[in-house]
Amino acid sequence: MDILIRIQTEPFDAAAVLERFAAGAVVSFIGRVRAEPGLQALRLEHYPGMTEAEIERAVAEAGQRWPLTGAAILHRVGELKPGEPIVLVAAAAEHRHEAFAACEFLIDHLKTKAPFWKEERLVSGSHWVDAKASDDDAAARWG
C-alpha cells in the first residue's frame, strides 16, 4: 500500500494527492473551516509524534479491513481562515465500495483518535471546540 501522511501548516495540493493513486477507484474527503457568524479563524494544535503514530495505526487498520492500494491523510495545523481546507483523506482501491468505506473509516477515526484540538477565534474571544457525540457515534459504527 502506498501511504502518504503529512501534518503541515501550509495548504495541501489535493490534485497531486489524487493523481498519485492510479487505482480503479479513489475516494477523497476534504474538510474545510466552516464560515460561521463571528468566526475569525480556527487554530489547530496537535501532539507531534503521537499524531503521526495514531494516523499510521488508523491506516494500518484500514489496510487490514479493505484491500487498499493507497491511502493519504494530510492535516493542517496552526491558524486557518473560514473556507480554508483543514484535512484531506483519500483511499484508493480497485473497486469503489472499498474505497468509500475506507475513506469514511479514516476520517471517522481521525476525528475521534488523532490528537488534534481546535480553538475558535471569535470576535468575542477564543474558546476550545468541544468534542461532538456524533463523531463518537460515527466512529463506533466500525466496531
Partner: protein
C-alpha cells in the same frame, strides 16, 4: 517522567511540558492524575474530575487504569477535535 499537556489542559496549567520524578507508589495513569491534583489549585482544576480528561502513554491512547513507569512519556488533554 516526561509530562505533556495540550489544548485547554495546557492553557489551564500555564505550561505544556514538565519533568517529574515519579513517586514509587504511583503506578497507574489514574494514580498519576490524583498525585498531580494535589499539587495546587490549577492542577486540582484539571485533575480532580477525570471525565473530561484523556491520556496517552508513550504516544498511545491510555485508560486511567493503565500502568505508568518513570521512563514513560505521559500526556493529558481534552477529547480530540481535529479533522
Amino acid at each position: 517522567m516526561r509530562l505533556l499537556y495540550f489544548a485547554s489542559v495546557r492553557q489551564k496549567l500555564g505550561w505544556g511540558e514538565e519533568t517529574l520524578a515519579l513517586p514509587g507508589d504511583v503506578t497507574t495513569v489514574g494514580a498519576l492524575a490524583a498525585f498531580l491534583a494535589a499539587r495546587g489549585p490549577s492542577y486540582a482544576a484539571v485533575f480532580t474530575d477525570l471525565r473530561p480528561l484523556r491520556a496517552a502513554v508513550n504516544q498511545t491512547h491510555a485508560r486511567f487504569e493503565d500502568p505508568v513507569g518513570d521512563g514513560d512519556e505521559v500526556a493529558f488533554f481534552p477529547p480530540v477535535t481535529g479533522g
